[in-house]
């Protein structure tokens, strides 16, 4: 062994090198406060290792970036850990860098003769921020896409060269393949290479001047190895444990694939940039122009930090005091703005709803990507575009939710509120639905509601303006045709027959009728009992009930009940009663949405607008109906929670708004 070392030493001088590296003098003894630089070097090494591994599986293009990251995260061996380490170590690096900077300033380690090394450190900081910026876009998910849009748009307000800088960064005038290839080249090539170069200089110059020691008598002098290395190693191990724990317990998020045509309301920068984000939300800041808030202010702050060595040189101890005061002020400001931004978001119900949707889309995208059909060549983005579970709620919210609700909400999980009245405090009251809640449309519950308590089932209709108007007009003696849950033939039938229907004698029959009706709707992912269905069919058509109900059949009015909904529906056989042929099925629903006013449906009693293909394209109608009838690949993604109870409680008087008069009186 010794021979081998001698041989090496003769040729490369290994002993001298090792000695120089390990036996640097540490005056005043090893201390915990010296560990920050080493933790940063370690974190960078971690990034290089995990980064290389991610590189070996990542494919930068708009149709493969999300897809390959998905594959790394959800299919490759240890992929989630490697990506998680890279994701969290990147954040750790920013935090450690901030600590390192604050400490260098408060310890005065930036002062002569260490100015150049301080500036090298600032260059390193810029490179690290560049790495985190370029890395955020690479997964090409909604989160990264929209957050990075903001950053590249900020670049464009740089005076004089802004537009060109933006074009160069993006690789064109708009985001596309080249944005990814360029960001990737920066992220994995140019920036890390520069970082290595500047880090080498930084460490070289650091070794030249040695540690900045305040208290040489703190402990006896020692050497870097092993005393300080031990402390550094413990600190690095703590960092590693933290990022590894995070990677395991909270795997890095991959939101839905980027889609420039899909609005993303949950856009936020990575948390360590929240303070800048919040700063740009101040109207007073924006009033001075975006360049001021996004370029000049951060530029001036960086400038003040960069000239700290000169400040200290010119003003002596007072300069050092100013520098320390400034860095503490900045730290406090950053923390305050970050907390403010997080607090505001936590209390912003719109943002929370947008976040919920973002998580739902993300999980669904991953579910579809790992489904039996995998990802088509046109990318994962097309999976979501064609998915009823993803598009249905959006279409419902856009087209239906001004009257209907879905389990109390607008389809996308939000309760709809009135406008905030002038002078009112707090949130406005919930808006009254004016048409049926369709959350359980076509289900056994729905059918049961119609058959046993029609008036209650369609009670929301009575909130509609047209309804109250029609009631008024008929009270005035006018002949008005309208749907009336409180007094129509169907309402009378259910109220008149409730007793017998709910009596012991018909309990089995009722269950069978419901089973039959639900099977006629035939929503996907449900099973029906064939014997019960058959019994229900006979009840519906022949009316062989027990007791008072005996002889009353659905078919007596709805003569097409039990038939499939016709492929080319027309009104030639309209009986004056809504058709029950395939009631609640996809075919029935499509026809009803297109022609609710047809005689086969509600005819002249209808008040729902007909949705022609100029309002709702065939493709969108198909997605909406498939969502409403459960016709999509099975999902384990949690749906939006049912909000009916909250809606009802809110409408029952638990509103959070104070009357304008009361608010005025308080002033």
């Amino acid at each position: 062994m010794k021979m081998l070392i001698d041989w090496m030493d003769d040729r490369v001088g290994i002993r001298g090198m090792l000695h120089e590296a390990l036996y640097e003098r540490v005056p005043g003894g090893a201390r915990w406060r010296y560990v920050w630089g080493s933790t940063l070097v370690f974190t960078f090494l971690l990034q290089v290792i995990t980064g290389f591994m991610l590189w070996s599986a990542y494919s930068p293009s708009t149709r493969t970036a999300w897809e390959s990251v998905y594959f790394i995260q959800h299919e490759m061996f240890l992929g989630s850990i490697i990506r998680g380490l890279h994701h969290y170590a990147a954040q750790a690096m920013v935090v450690l860098m901030a600590i390192h900077l604050v400490q260098v300033v408060i310890d005065g380690a930036y002062k002569a003769p260490r100015e150049v090394n301080f500036w090298l450190g600032i260059v390193l900081m810029m490179i690290v921020l560049g790495l985190s910026l370029t890395g955020y876009l690479l997964p090409w998910d909604q989160k990264g896409y929209y957050a990075t849009q903001v950053t590249t748009n900020i670049m464009s307000v740089t005076p004089i060269v802004g537009a060109e800088v933006q074009t160069l960064a993006q690789g064109g005038n708009e985001y596309g393949h080249l944005t990814l290839t360029r960001f990737f080249a920066m992220h994995a090539g140019l920036l890390p290479a520069s970082l290595v170069a500047f880090l080498a200089l930084h460490i070289m110059v650091f070794r030249r001047h040695g540690l900045t020691v305040h208290d040489e008598k703190h402990a006896p002098d020692t050497t870097f190895w092993p005393d300080q290395v031990l402390k550094d190693a413990v600190a690095c191990l703590a960092v590693l444990t933290a990022v590894l724990a995070l990677a395991v317990l909270r795997p890095a998020e991959l939101s839905a694939p980027a889609d420039p045509a899909v609005k993303f309301d949950a856009a936020r920068p990575e948390w360590y940039f929240l303070f800048l984000f919040r700063f740009l939300r101040f109207q007073a800041v924006e009033a001075l122009g975006l360049t001021f808030g996004a370029i000049i202010v951060p530029g001036v702050i960086m400038g003040i930090i960069a000239v700290m060595p000169i400040t200290a040189r010119l003003l002596g101890n007072f300069g050092h005091f100013l520098n320390r005061a400034f860095i503490w002020l900045m730290a406090a400001g950053v923390v305050a703005l970050t907390v403010l931004a997080a607090w505001e978001d936590a209390n912003d119900s719109d943002h929370q709803a947008a976040l919920a949707e973002s998580h739902r889309d993300a999980k669904r995208a991953i579910e579809l990507a790992s489904g039996p059909d995998r990802i088509p060549v046109d990318g994962a983005v097309s999976l979501l575009r064609r998915d009823p579970f993803t598009q249905g709620p959006r279409l419902f919210a856009q087209h239906c939710s001004s009257c209907h609700r879905w389990n109390g909400h607008d389809g996308r999980g939000s309760l709809i509120r009135d406008a905030v009245a002038d002078g009112a405090i707090g949130e406005a009251p919930y808006t009254l639905p004016v048409a049926a809640d369709l959350g359980n449309f076509g289900s056994r519950d729905w059918m049961n509601g119609i058959v046993t308590d029609y008036s209650e089932h369609f009670r929301w209709i009575q909130n509609a303006g047209w309804y109250q108007d029609a009631v008024q007009r008929s009270a005035d003696g006018e002949e008005v045709e309208f749907l009336n849950p409180a007094g129509s033939e169907m309402a009378d039938w259910t109220s008149g027959m409730t007793e017998s229907l709910l009596a012991e004698e018909n309990s089995g029959n009722l269950k069978a009728l419901i089973e039959f009706l639900a099977s006629e709707a035939g929503h996907a992912q449900q099973e029906f009992d064939p014997a019960l269905v058959e019994l229900g069919r006979q009840l519906a058509i022949d009316g062989n009930w027990a007791g008072d109900l005996e002889g009353t059949s659905c078919a007596g009015c709805h003569d097409t009940i039990g038939e499939p909904f016709p492929e080319t529906p027309d009104d030639s056989n309209a009986s004056g009663y809504p058709t029950m042929a395939g009631y609640g099925s996809a075919a029935w629903l499509k026809d009803f949405i297109r022609h609710p006013d047809a005689d086969r449906h509600y005819g002249s009693r209808n008040r729902m607008p007909a949705y022609g293909s100029d309002q709702l394209t065939d493709a969108d109608l198909d997605l909406l109906v498939r969502w409403m009838t459960g016709d999509y690949s099975p999902t384990e993604v949690a749906d939006y929670p049912n909000q009916l109870a909250r809606l009802n409680a809110g409408l029952a008087g638990g509103t959070t708004t104070e009357a304008p008069a009361a608010a005025a009186a308080e002033e």
Binding site: V157, L168, N173, H177, L178, H351, R417, D418
Partner: protein, 213 residues
């Protein structure tokens, strides 16, 4: 600590001592120029390549839109929307519409894909206006807030009236309106029901509305 630097300097001094003849200066100059070229040529070529997004002139392909798009796009770039004027709420409530077109992205052409979303609105005077839903501030998505009856961007709280004018100090300009043409069977007709829109994106963060080509 300072001693080490002294050592370094003395080493350097020792190595640059010899008494070279005068032609050495010429040789040094040539060497310097050659060395410079060795770095400068590949460096410049590489740098210019990196400037491709600004310098590139060649543009492959053309406007051979896919069949699906061709059928509803005219020579001026107006695209016919599925939605018609009569389908937009008469009370002025805006509707969100996705615009489909062919897009070229570097080496790919994506046929008939969603390229963006717009807000359409019918004024009480029957005039249809269209706005790009990208926020002119920093590029997030502008939403319609039913309760407030305005347009609002959830990123930096830019707010706009339904006419697209900005209502707070956050955005540098109002929402980007798009050229709308009402037609009947493809012919311009101010009472027509077909809505044709010339869809484009605009630079963000500028007070002036500048189209991105």
């Amino acid at each position: 600590m300072t001693n080490s630097s002294d050592e370094v300097t003395s080493e350097v001094v020792v190595s640059v001592q010899p008494d070279y003849p005068r032609r050495g200066i010429v040789r040094q100059a040539i060497t310097a120029v050659l060395s410079f070229l060795l770095v400068a040529v590949p460096g410049t070529l590489g740098g210019l390549f990196f400037l491709d997004p600004i310098l590139r002139r060649k543009k492959s392909g053309g406007n051979s839109d896919s069949g699906a798009v061709q059928a509803r796009k005219d020579s001026e770039g107006y695209i016919r929307l599925d939605v018609t004027r009569d389908a937009i709420p008469a009370d002025g409530t805006p509707v969100s519409v996705t615009v489909f077109d062919d897009i070229d992205d570097a080496w790919n052409r994506f046929s008939n894909v969603p390229v963006g979303s717009i807000w359409l609105r019918r004024g009480t005077d029957g005039v249809v206006s269209a706005f790009n839903s990208i926020c002119p501030h920093l590029g997030c998505s502008v939403n319609f807030r039913r309760a407030e009856n305005d347009f609002f961007c959830p990123c930096h709280t830019s707010a706009f009236g339904l006419d697209g004018e900005k209502t707070n100090q956050i955005p540098p300009r109002g929402m980007d309106s798009l050229d709308v043409s009402l037609r009947t069977a493809g012919e311009t007709d101010s009472n027509g029901s077909e809505i044709w829109v010339r869809f484009c994106n605009f630079r963000r963060a500028t007070a002036e509305k500048i189209e991105i080509q």
